[in-house]
């Protein structure tokens, strides 16, 4: 037996290009697609290596030397050294992996995330306590909604 699909919006061929294209229409957001996952593979695996205490020690002792052990681009290495998380997202970084870098720095998610918004930590925290950033005008670049 084959139940019919319960979703009225289902059916027809999947257009993966249209599917992926829509993610670029969200303001201020880098959706972690396969393309970004490939671009950032070694960057994210480097960050992952900081899960181990002995690696964190070596990293803290000489960040540049530690980075040079990884086949990352120079731009990615400079982005890490500068803790420029928006730049790292553009270069294929994923936030859950980059979290290993800012956790090693002793930063919380709230502190690290605020650095990507261009807001001061106090202002960002106040915005969250007041209910967060409104989705109004933040949904679609094309449709201005």
């Amino acid at each position: 037996m084959n139940d019919k699909n319960p979703c009225e919006n289902a059916g027809g061929p999947i257009d993966i290009h249209a599917y992926l294209g829509e993610f670029d229409d969200i303001p201020g957001t880098r959706v972690y697609t396969a393309k970004r996952a490939r671009q950032g593979y070694h960057l994210n695996q480097f960050a992952m290596s900081l899960m181990k205490a002995e690696n964190r020690e070596r990293w803290k002792a000489d960040e540049r030397a530690y980075l040079d052990e990884w086949p990352m681009t120079e731009e990615q290495k400079l982005g890490v050294l500068a803790r420029d998380y928006n730049r790292l997202l553009d270069l294929g970084g994923n936030i859950y992996f980059l979290a290993k870098v800012f956790s090693t720095d002793g930063l919380s998610f709230l502190q690290a995330v605020s650095t990507m918004t261009g807001m001061k930590l106090e202002d960002y925290q106040a915005m969250m306590i007041a209910g967060g950033r409104s989705p109004e005008g933040q949904r679609s670049i094309k449709e201005h909604r």
Partner: protein, 299 residues
Amino acid sequence: MARITHGIACSHIPALGVASDFDKWEDPYWKPIQEGFAPTQKWEAENLPDVVILVYNDHASAFDMKIIPTFAIGCGESYKPADEGWGPREVPDVEGHPDLAWHIAQSLILDEFDMTIINEMDVDHGLTVPLSMMFGKPAKWPVKVIPLAVNVVTYPPPSGNRCWALGEAIARAVESFDEDLNVQVWGTGGMSHQLQGPRAGLINAEWDNMFLDKLSGDTQELRCIPHIEYPRETGSEGIEMVMWLIMRGALGKETRELLRFYHVPASNTAVGHIVLEPVNGDVPPSATVEGAATQEQID
């Protein structure tokens, strides 16, 4: 015979784990959350299941970019809390239920859900924070746990529809397990949050509450929400809510809400939880050749 008694959805925000581990619940920032979870903790203690099937996502802890399983089920004896970069949480080890887990894994594969099977892994905040929120700080977790990890980090994650259907298949699998067990299914993660980019901090209380509303009753609308709507409406990490649909699918045709709590914020995130009871737990029969044969044996 094993049975699914209830479903719970719950945020798994790491900061909640910190609040629990370092006894911060009396702080004014955390107090409303502690009060919001208190009735559920009480209810859970009175309705304690034998096993929880805990749907969650790993956050670059057990899995890195080397292997990205879409759906993975833990069949091991036990799991240790992961070191996520600041040392492992000081919470009890998580005890598995390998008999039921392997039964579910086999049933799901015959039901054409091609699961990855995990025998050894560490579990991160995605799994341990909901346990802390439901049970507080016991010396030993009072339930056995079957971890069910879903990829919601690298796109594309599974569709909401597929998650719902997986839940239905889990219900069929649990029903065909011989031992007399009460089983809860938990969906974790969410609600609206964005942890990256200039748009970070996005919260959509209206959408989150719509989602909570539609988990109860007999509507299946939530399974039809396309991926794009989650990041647009609820932030880039709001996609975690597809995991709640595995829980909802497992509860069958119709559910009733017993408890609900919603609060903004914890750290960057909207906190939500809901307790659901099946009113009509029927799920469609397996549509597969192997699944149909299994079903005949049960009937």
